[in-house]
């Protein structure tokens, strides 16, 4: 998880660790379970060291202090704005799989179509998991939108595998 994500989730208001955690859970649904609290606190510690957040007591009144909360510094605010404006997108690594098929066929080490089949089964299992998680979300939930992205991406990968299978089947017929 990127530090900037944790930083940006703090931008709404100064928060305690558990409030931050709740905000992430709301956005991620069942996927949030994969994150442990430790990761979040380690990240907060790094951000504090880097001068992007401070941890201090909120004053409730002149003589009473509330719990310690994490708050963005001016530099932290700036970093969040920069991050929101950045254009980045996760890259799938298809070249490795493509070259695996070519190497397997060239050396006669394995059947490319067999490799495609195994890969397809694995992706279908992942899609099953994502789809079931999506079905368990209520309509319009934040996590549901993320799961839709995951299922669409897996569908695209599966379609490419279908193209791989077609192409390797044709090559086998020609040779």
């Amino acid at each position: 998880m990127q530090q900037e994500v944790v930083l940006a989730m703090l931008a709404k208001e100064p928060s305690q660790g558990f409030q931050l955690r709740a905000r992430l859970d709301q956005a991620l649904g069942a996927l949030g379970e994969a994150m442990n609290d430790g990761q979040i606190y380690v990240t907060l510690g790094r951000l504090e060291k880097a001068g992007l957040v401070v941890r201090q007591h909120v004053p409730i009144s002149a003589d009473r202090r509330g719990p310690k909360v994490y708050e963005l510094t001016a530099t932290g605010q700036e970093r969040v704005s920069e991050w929101l404006g950045e254009v980045s997108w996760p890259k799938p690594d298809l070249a490795e799989f493509h070259l695996k098929l070519i190497a397997a066929a060239a050396a006669g080490l394995a059947d490319p179509i067999g490799i495609v089949d195994v890969q397809r089964r694995e992706l279908i299992r992942r899609l099953r998991e994502a789809q079931r998680a999506a079905m368990a979300e209520s309509d319009g939930s934040e996590a549901g939108l993320l799961l839709e992205g995951i299922t669409l991406r897996l569908q695209a990968d599966l379609r490419w595998l279908e193209a791989c299978e077609r192409s390797w089947t044709d090559r086998r017929k020609r040779s």
Binding site: A34, M35, I124, R125, L127, Q131, M135, R159
Partner: protein
Amino acid sequence: MNEEESVLLARGLRKEYGSGEGLVRAVDAVDLEVARGETLAIMGPSGCGKSTMLHLMGGLDRPSAGELWLNGSRIDRLSERGLAQLRRHEIGFIFQAFHLMDELTAQENVELPALLAGRSPREARRRAFQLLDQVGLGERATHLPSALSGGQRQRVAIARALANEPLLVLADEPTGNLDSAATLEVLRLFEDLHTGGLTLVVVTHDERIAATADRMISMRDGAFVDETRLTGSTSGNLAGLIGLGS
């Protein structure tokens, strides 16, 4: 499993068109068993024979060779009349384009198969209400299809497919005309029906349906080339896929 225990059983099923040089083997010596309560997805590219396969299973078309059994009775040799009876009573169909009657309300659409099967109007009506309720459209019973969304129309069509408590429901690209949200509606409904014991065979391009089935078969050039059983199997690393988790 044998023909006594499976809802549907095919042995050496073939469907050929044309002859000589122009011979097309749309379905080429297919063996298949569908267990009671199972959801099976048949996937494959256009022209692989999956729709022909569905037509054979539903008695909409006759095989050129092979045997087909439904609930222990052989159906590949039935007369036209016998096939019509079979389609009316034992099999429910769901299509990509819904095929609802535009001038009938949702409820009337769902009543229709029961009336055609000879049930009393009262009984047909009661069953239609119950089914529309089950698919979450009880409050839309009096709407015409034109007043319903795509996902709702498909749910009406699913209710209609269930009107005569069929042994087997066959679906041809049921989410082909639906957006993501409506697809989710239909998948949730299929899941509910699966829990209720429905036997369902879906032919589809849609990987999302295939992924939620109990079993997935890949079809190419008229033959089954791969089979994956999906129940109980998860990779358990969904979060890792999107860069969450350690």
